[in-house]
Symmetry: C2
């Protein structure tokens, strides 16, 4: 009997689905267009058929041990997706309840994508054996998954770990959440774009980015420009890393993590983002925390990290009941 | 057989010692001058005799179930006090090791005073039954004890929960830690004194506080002035509450607590500090957290709260081994 966990990563555009073994071997991967399913019940119905098909495709004696789901605003306690801004399903969607009739016997675990990434890091990645760490996922926005005493921090209501909305400057950049100056308006793929434009306005240096309209600029272009020595691009990474480093030093005061992992698109810029972040983190830390906290890239492969994270929720949940 | 936990609260000036029953009944209380013992070993030797005497005084059949100690920079994992600024004992003091020969069989638990307050709140106070909450202790400085999933957050190294050193303004007030603009330079008995002086400089309003030298000003005088309608005093509380409320809204993003408890001298100012803090906390919260987080005064009596907190460490520790 081959035991697998199903990992599902729901995004505004695509939903990735995969099957992963307990040791972290990816056995199957596919994806569907989330936006094709304006009705969440129909989406779940399609997905359950897909899951059965995946399992049959792997081998006839595959056993599904559980289903792990990462989704924006996914709530671990209630199994619901609540008012997710970039999904078509409005209000409170009881996703786990929709899945339950199809899989009555196995754990079905939902949380947000950053929490799933943190569990993935603990089960398969660089945080194996760590009891206290933080994962920062830097994509369109900034998410975070916080592990304390070996357990994910869900908080009283299931929504803990929203470090993307820590205030950098209350009079700062407009955020999608309606407030101003949130961390993710500076530190994210969108944030660094905004910073490039700020730098282009502030300085007079030549830059290849001066020929790119805002709508077309992305973080990969900014990284490539930095690699070619573009001063505006490099200054933008330094500005981003400074803000991130300072705010991470506040996070260290809270939970004193052994390591902070950086995950997602912007983290792929390597030294351009890691160096200034590390410098300003160390520089801002309270004395007792200096030279203690590792700043690391995610230990999950980038190709299917979201599926890995979601599937890891299952093994983590099973470990709880097996205790 | 009467079962008691010994609670010890070590401060720079005094050390309070008491015996508390499992239900939270204080059976004995006394205090000694910490500063009389420049040698920590002698201090412990004196203390163990005191403990035996206390126990004999209560009744002949009293059983000590454990010793809980709250101390500045107390480390739960190592049982040491590390580089505490306001104690005479320098470097790393292995306090639990010093106690161990006298009490070889029972738990001896050390942590910092704010963590002890948080455990006290959970065992005897307003946080009974809560799994996720934060205690802010506002005295000379600002300490914090954070509980997540029913456990205190000690972090990787035992020093988690230092919210007093979250940065309000990197170019702000000089802090005893060597950095600038830490939360406790604004929100503490010392912080509000500094704010009163800022307000006296900024405004021209008459104020009874204009006749008080900085050295003699204390938070009780500021509270009493506010009660008499002193505009400078009231403005100082509002400024303090605004900064605290905004920074607590960041803390909520981290652990999504059910409640935040305020403990210590400044918290006794009641509405003068609670009202502006609550207003700015709610005003700054991310939408999903609004109207969810209770802001409460400590449920521990103020007279012997420090002893209660320290003794609670024992019951919490015993509950772990009894599980």
């Amino acid at each position: 009997m081959k035991e697998v966990a199903i990992g599902i990563d729901i995004g505004g555009t695509n939903t990735k689905i995969g099957a992963v073994s307990r040791s972290g071997e990816s056995l199957y991967e596919t994806s569907i267009h989330t936006a094709d399913y304006p009705d969440a019940k129909e989406f779940v119905n399609f997905l359950q058929k897909k899951i059965r098909q995946i399992v049959d495709d792997i081998s006839k004696d595959t056993e599904i041990k559980g289903i792990g789901i990462g989704a924006p605003n996914g709530n671990y306690y209630s199994g619901t997706i609540e008012n997710a801004m970039n999904l078509k399903w409005k209000g409170i969607v009881p996703l786990v309840d929709f899945f339950r009739p199809y899989f009555p016997e196995i754990p079905i675990v939902l949380t947000n994508d950053a929490n799933a990434a943190a569990i993935g890091e603990m089960v398969y990645g660089g945080a194996k054996g760590m009891k206290n760490f933080i994962v920062i996922t830097i994509g369109t926005g900034l998410g975070s998954g916080i592990v304390v005493n070996g357990e994910l921090v869900y908080g009283h209501d299931g929504f803990a770990g929203e470090l993307g909305h820590i205030t950098v400057n209350p009079k700062g950049r407009r955020c999608a959440c309606g407030r101003n100056g949130c961390l993710e308006t500076y530190v994210s793929a969108t944030g660094i774009k905004r910073t490039v434009y700020k730098m282009l306005a502030k300085y007079t240096d030549e830059s290849e980015l001066r020929s790119v309209p805002y709508d077309q600029l992305n973080s990969k272009m900014i990284t490539e420009a930095a690699q070619r020595g573009d001063k505006i691009a490099i200054a933008s990474f330094e500005y981003t890393g400074e803000i991130l480093g300072i705010k991470l030093s506040d996070a260290v005061l809270f939970s004193s993590p052994e390591a902070i992992f950086m995950f997602g698109g912007l983290a792929k810029a390597g030294d351009y983002i890691f160096k200034p972040t590390k410098f300003h983190l160390e520089n801002s830390l309270l004395e007792i925390f200096k030279n203690k906290v590792k700043l690391l890239p995610s230990g999950l492969g980038s190709v299917n990290a979201a599926i890995m994270g979601a599937s890891a929720l299952v093994w983590k949940e099973l470990a709880k009941t097996e205790e």
